[in-house]
């Protein structure tokens, strides 16, 4: 999915957080989003994802304003993801369940992600008891299970061990190739950005 931001202005209590004249995320690219703490990266992702609606300006998805059919294809892992008070398995299964995918198929897909992300050992564990890194992996698996065409990742590998982070990058790459999706990837790690992203965008 292609995203175009036009004349975006976002304020919190009179204070301008984001002021973007024009920004373009090409279809099928992996874009690194960089910037200082408090620059507004998370805010920008929330706006693009559609959960933050209070802003001025326009965002176009494949040339159109946000529609329900777009919402179904946008996935996001927030900086502090919220996992449901259910098992890891049920968390990853949730987006499939609400899309009415049949049980056998759901199990197949979820098991696939559990294996890829190395989460099999904790698949029965309650998700609100996981460690920070584990939680982020589960949140990522859950977002991927919904098969998004636009994936917004907010420092998703920040709490994850270097080696495991590389493994996740590899998986994301292969998902990206398979789906031809657009990924916007917030990170503070420059080497990671260089290694993983096609291009980088700095915000003030």
């Amino acid at each position: 999915m292609e995203v175009r931001i036009q004349k975006l202005l976002k304020k919190y209590n009179q204070k301008t957080i984001l002021d973007i004249l024009d920004m373009h995320f090409k279809e099928g690219t992996i874009i690194g989003l960089l910037g200082d703490n408090g620059a507004g990266k998370s805010t920008l992702l929330k706006i693009i994802s559609g959960i933050e609606k209070d802003y001025e300006g326009q965002i176009l998805y494949n040339g159109y304003p946000l529609k329900d059919c777009h919402k179904q294809r946008i996935g996001m892992v927030s900086q502090k993801p919220y996992l449901f008070k259910r098992s890891v398995f049920e968390n990853i299964e949730y987006p499939l369940k609400i899309r009415k995918i049949e049980k056998k198929k759901r199990k197949e897909i979820v098991d696939g992600y559990l294996r890829e992300m190395n989460l099999e050992a904790i698949k029965g564990q309650r998700a609100d008891t996981l460690s920070g890194g584990e939680a982020q992996k589960v949140a990522l698996a859950r977002a991927l299970a919904a098969a998004p065409k636009l994936l917004l990742l907010d420092e998703t590998t920040a709490n994850i061990h270097e080696e495991a982070a590389c493994a996740i990058e590899t998986q994301l790459k292969s998902y990206h190739e398979q789906m031809g999706c657009t990924i916007i990837f917030v990170t503070h790690n420059l080497t990671q950005a260089e290694r993983f992203c096609d291009e980088c965008v700095w915000i003030k």
Binding site: S78, Y82, F84, I98, A146
Partner: protein
């Protein structure tokens, strides 16, 4: 110490004796399966449970919606809600009485002095409480769940279901709070039910009646049963909450 010479009218009876004999009598009543007693207990449970369930069917979805929605005057609505949580039950009883009385707007239904009237009064009584508690829970912690649900592609109905599942322990405790308020109040059921033997007499109204007639041990017996039910409900709910945690 005995307080002789204190009571001039009747033979002196220290409070303690009253209590123990009441408790013994309570046990006897419970074991003897006294039909009137059981009828009263079952009626109490039925009236208060129905009221809480009816109220919850409205309060949970509406409270969730209210907690998530941003609108002008939200502050005012929440103050109003908190203030109305402590409305005295007699006031509610009076209002419902006026509405259901023969000349009132709903007088044609002929519901006054029936269990239905008591259910209505208690529903009205617990609604601000349930709504306020639900609203407060969701206002503080609901957005996160809502956002996550929306991000994963849930529609509004699925978001509400998701929130009810995520906060089921809180909701169960709210339900119990509402039930406790309903089953322990006298004012509303007394006024709209009339404490008629065999049809609208419930535990609290019988206790009030027995007390005014000087039948302290039966009053204590019923009081003990009421206490027992509260304890039982509480322990069941908390045990459930523990296993869900």
């Amino acid at each position: 110490m005995r307080m002789e010479g204190h009571s001039l009218t009747q033979q002196p009876r220290p409070m303690m004796n009253e209590l123990t004999s009441g408790l013994i009598k309570a046990l006897k009543l419970i074991i003897s399966l006294d039909p009137e007693l059981y009828q009263i207990i079952i009626r109490s449970l039925f009236v208060s449970l129905s009221a809480v369930i009816i109220s919850a069917l409205f309060c949970f979805p509406f409270g969730i919606w209210l907690g998530l929605k941003k609108f002008k005057g939200k502050q005012f609505v929440s103050r109003l809600l908190y203030a109305s949580m402590s409305t005295p039950s007699v006031v509610i009883g009076l209002v419902i009485l006026l509405i259901l009385s023969r000349k009132g707007p709903l007088g044609f239904l002929g519901l006054l002095y029936t269990p239905a009237a008591m259910v209505i009064a208690q529903t009205v009584l617990v609604t601000p409480l349930l709504l306020g508690l639900t609203y407060n829970t969701i206002k503080q912690r609901g957005h996160q769940v809502q956002n996550e649900g929306l991000l994963l592609g849930a529609d509004s109905f699925q978001v509400i279901i998701l929130i009810i599942r995520e906060f089921k322990i809180d909701f169960l405790v709210h339900l119990m709070t509402g039930f406790s308020r309903a089953i322990s109040e006298v004012g509303a059921v007394m006024i709209v039910g009339g404490n008629i033997k065999g049809t609208t007499r419930v535990m609290t109204t019988s206790i009030a009646l027995m007390n005014s007639m000087g039948e302290y041990d039966r009053a204590i017996a019923l009081g003990a049963v009421l206490l027992l039910i509260s304890l039982l409900v509480n322990s069941i709910v908390y045990r459930e909450a523990e296993t869900w945690k």
